[in-house]
Amino acid sequence: MSSPANVESLGEPQVDRPAALPATQPFYWSVRRELWEHRAVYIAPLVVAGVVVVGFVIRLASLPQTELAVASLPTAPQASNLERPYAIAAAAIIFCALIVGVFYCLGALNNERRDRTILFWKSLPVSDLTTVLSKAFIPLITLPVVVFAITVVTQLVMLILGSAVLLVNGLDPATIWTHWPMLRMSVGLLYCLAILTLWYAPIYGWLLLVSGWARRMPILWATLPLLGLCLVERIGFNTSHIVALLVYRLQGFVSEGFGTEVHGKVIDHLAFLTPGRFFGSPGLWLGLVAAVAFLGAAVWLRRYREPG
């Protein structure tokens, strides 16, 4: 690409440049850039998974007789008891990913303005739309995929550890594998992650928007005004519609996505899943519309606001 050193006459149109520039992948590199900056996206769930496995090993070591007893009785109530650590593992990793997602979004469009690196990012041919979408990609796609992969692997490791304990004690682990609902749990996990992410999309969108708007402390700007609205409504009108709306946004995926309440446990029976009702609920679609609006506003803000 080195330019010819010979001097061309000034003002002459430059015809020597090739019309087709090499293709670039701004979106792909923008997402990679996010993962370089925010390694917590995969490290934090990995740490939680590690902690879960450590806890499981302690459980196996201290209570081998329980495992052994249950393994010899593969009937429904015992199986459900046996599944509990696996469900807790999944719930812990999902919860960790939610926290990571929230803090990621709050910083995503704020840090670049606070440390003025936005001037560097904007000097490159990457549009504001690409930038904002690559940042939304992390909580909406990357985190659920990371959580799914880490959870499935963690559960497999737990299963193998459990089998090893059985073998060491001279028992056949075949029962545990033939009766184990691995596939059912994975499908349930996938469903859970999908509806959770879709349901929370407007929350991530809102956090990204506030992140791009607030000069500092986006966490306060993202939460306190909502709290203020709730207070005004409660005191001024003695109603609590806004509170109900916020609570519905936080919990609604449970009532829309599952047939009966699932306390703490991540679905152990696919019969509980109600995808029809979930995808037919106005709450989902209104939320997605809001998410698109928030992201659109975030793009607009990044474009129109004077950098630096």
């Binding site: 149109p13 520039l21 670039t24 370089w36 000097s123 041919p125 950098p307």
Partner: protein, 289 residues
Amino acid sequence: MACIEARGLRKSFGATVALDGLDLKVEEGRILGLIGPNGAGKSTLLNAVLGLIPYQGDLTVLGLDPWAARDQLMREVCFVADVAVLPRWMRVGQVLDYVGGVHPRFDRAKADSFLARTQIKKTSRIGELSKGMVTQLHLAIVMAIDAKLLVLDEPTIGLDLLYRKQFYDTLLNDYFDRRRTIIVTTHQVEEIQQILTDVMFIHHGRIVLDSSMEEFEARYVEVTPRPERLAEARALGPIHERKVLGRSILLFDRVDRERLAALGEVRTPSIADLFVAVMGEGPAQGARA
């Protein structure tokens, strides 16, 4: 083709008018120094040229409307707002990978060979580098981008003299090839005077002086008249007079150099001297090109 052309460019922030119907034309292959006091509209003008802010009026950069075609323009334009704004958390190798991934005109081999001449390690985090090294890294990136227009907005702010000099020398020797256009704003005017081909003064959102350096040198003369010829010199209508060590130095615009040489010692003023003359006495006086 003009690299940048502006007509009636306006921009205000609330009640503050940053660009007040500014007209401007920058030809290709020039190195333009854009000089102005704080708040004169320098950065606003550059932000408009780079498509970072919306504006009123006509503005064309490399044949494009910078606001509407910003993403396209950024493939042809490179800018450094301040060499210190590279992300501190990033590793040197990551920055190069990223720029190479998103910029079609970035030549990785060129950046690598430039960095090989420095102490910078690919595995270092930018936050661990010294300020001078960050400057070298930023330079390596800029110089590996085959841009038609390079905009430098106070690029060397906070750097010591050695790195400032190295920055400009490298740009001029290794980068500028008479086809590219470079625009620089800086408060250290004296450091860049030697490299400029053109100079513009901006004040209150307008261009108050627009001159090539050849024209500048032909037009402006500073004289230190011998005391007995001072009154005679003053009669020729200097645009500015200052006292240094008790002797008057008079700055003339378009007055015959031979005639002035008869009155005392003559020299070409520095841009800084003219800047003080034009800005200090109010831009309305005579300096408008």
